[in-house]
Symmetry: C2
Subunit: 337 residues, 2 copies
Amino acid sequence: MTSLPPPQPLDWTGRRVLITGGVGFVGSNLARRLVDAGAQVTCFDAFVPNDGAELFNLDGYLDRLRVVRGDVRDTPAITAALEGQEVLFNLAAQTSHVESMRDPRTDIEINALAQLAIVEACRSVAPRIRTVHASTRQVYGRPGKIPVDESHPLAPPDVNAINKISGEFYHLLYGRIYGSRPTVLRLTNIYGPRMRVRDARQMFFGWWIAQALSGVPFEVWGGHQIRELAFVENVVDALIAAVAEPAIGQIYNVGGEIRLSLRDLAGRLVAATPGAAFAIKDFPADRSLIDVGDYSADDTAFRAATGWAPRLSFEDGLRQTLEFYHAHRRPYLEPLR
Amino acid sequence: MTSLPPPQPLDWTGRRVLITGGVGFVGSNLARRLVDAGAQVTCFDAFVPNDGAELFNLDGYLDRLRVVRGDVRDTPAITAALEGQEVLFNLAAQTSHVESMRDPRTDIEINALAQLAIVEACRSVAPRIRTVHASTRQVYGRPGKIPVDESHPLAPPDVNAINKISGEFYHLLYGRIYGSRPTVLRLTNIYGPRMRVRDARQMFFGWWIAQALSGVPFEVWGGHQIRELAFVENVVDALIAAVAEPAIGQIYNVGGEIRLSLRDLAGRLVAATPGAAFAIKDFPADRSLIDVGDYSADDTAFRAATGWAPRLSFEDGLRQTLEFYHAHRRPYLEPLR
């Protein structure tokens, strides 16, 4: 499977692309791909401490794209960055569920208020911009049954999901009323090179990987929960495919290449990593309150609309991920040692 | 029907009740009823110019309740007002759909950010408070079919509906996580004594009534749209009934006593008002973008949970409304003349 080249459904040569959160995990992987495809990429990122931004994510590309340090909450800054852009990949977000409960005000500012500022800015300086807005499976809360399709009721289990719902609605509303062209993708758990692994803020799996590579036994909370994992290269394919999606104004689930229990996921990681080990622990109280149980995505609609499917297998994704962190311990893992 | 006394499913004697928006249309009618039932009522209201607050709404009751001038966006003020309260009727809102598009920032501040402040305040000073939170049928957008029950997808047609959805979710989330006891009611178009009639900001029907009573022909936009109208006394019954609703943490539609087209509604008003007349006009462009077509409520679930049903007929409601404005032209109608 790895021999397939990445699909390029659009000619990106010279296309002007803004990526919010462009120095973070998914944003940087997307930026690298788009630069390779010939796009003129601007990465807009607030470099919020302990979030995903890491300048090394763009290593080797810093002379081929533009990095703007700016916060989506800063209306003049995001407005200036949007001017003249053709495509917006809107990935900047507060993504920590636990943090959203500790500091709900910051979450609403980034995931709701700033989204309003972005769509207002598009309205004034880029009214026909094509936007791919990243949302999350978290909006469904604890699913009634899996796999979950887009008609599942919204049941946000935490502050983060409430505000992500607002953000989706803002993009779709302004598209319908003012003529911008949004597509919303509800993403699942994403892993791969350039993910934050210093802690579990971005995704538990990153933290597991860091500990596994450092020979520290990692904890698996519960273990029975089903998750759907998406390798970042497959997600980058999906983000790019979404730009060519013809219906505009839709919400799509985008799933991953594997669904498995956390216990099985831990087993796969340990099997692939010499010296790694894990232990099953009870769920901490503050987590169990906002836990969503099992999740897997029904992304039939997105596949039908775009032809997208996961291109790389979980085996390939995990191998590439571990190789990446082996090769680049310093920027991602060093403080652990 | 009018001879039935208002139901009092709870003993309100000495109960400490806070009503946000308590000097507005629905809030003041509720406050008067609860004072009559023996409750210790505090009306918290920002007196936002051109919104619903009108001190005359509490005429005859000002020595029997407490009025606090305060804004739900002011966290210390709402926190102080919540301290020691047993029941919160949370009616304060920005309610104008058109205004929410003109000034989305104010709408998000009142209908989303301030709701977060309210639930945080409850968490700190009134953790077990019983909250009845007023939401709106607008969250459903343009219905797929009518009547609409609570499982209808959320499809906010304007900024106001997006933020009302956030508000609902905040109340329910904090109830589930932190133990407050919310019930959300999605209300329909409410009319009756003490509604704002100087313009169409609160509800088109108030503006029609003002013009009808002043002998000025009023405009009906479109006219075919089905609406469900709820007399405010029936809505006050529902708000009070919701407090005794046992399930807690639920969302319920609350409908009205009549569903009819706007053309028929205008006809009923003209027939009841000597000298009144109306003309059918095309929908203005800024309105048609956010119009929701037909709406009627399926409120079976709320009726089953509480035993509530509309007590007063539309004929009674319209008659009482017109009598009220005949008797109290000065505070409500004078600027029209």
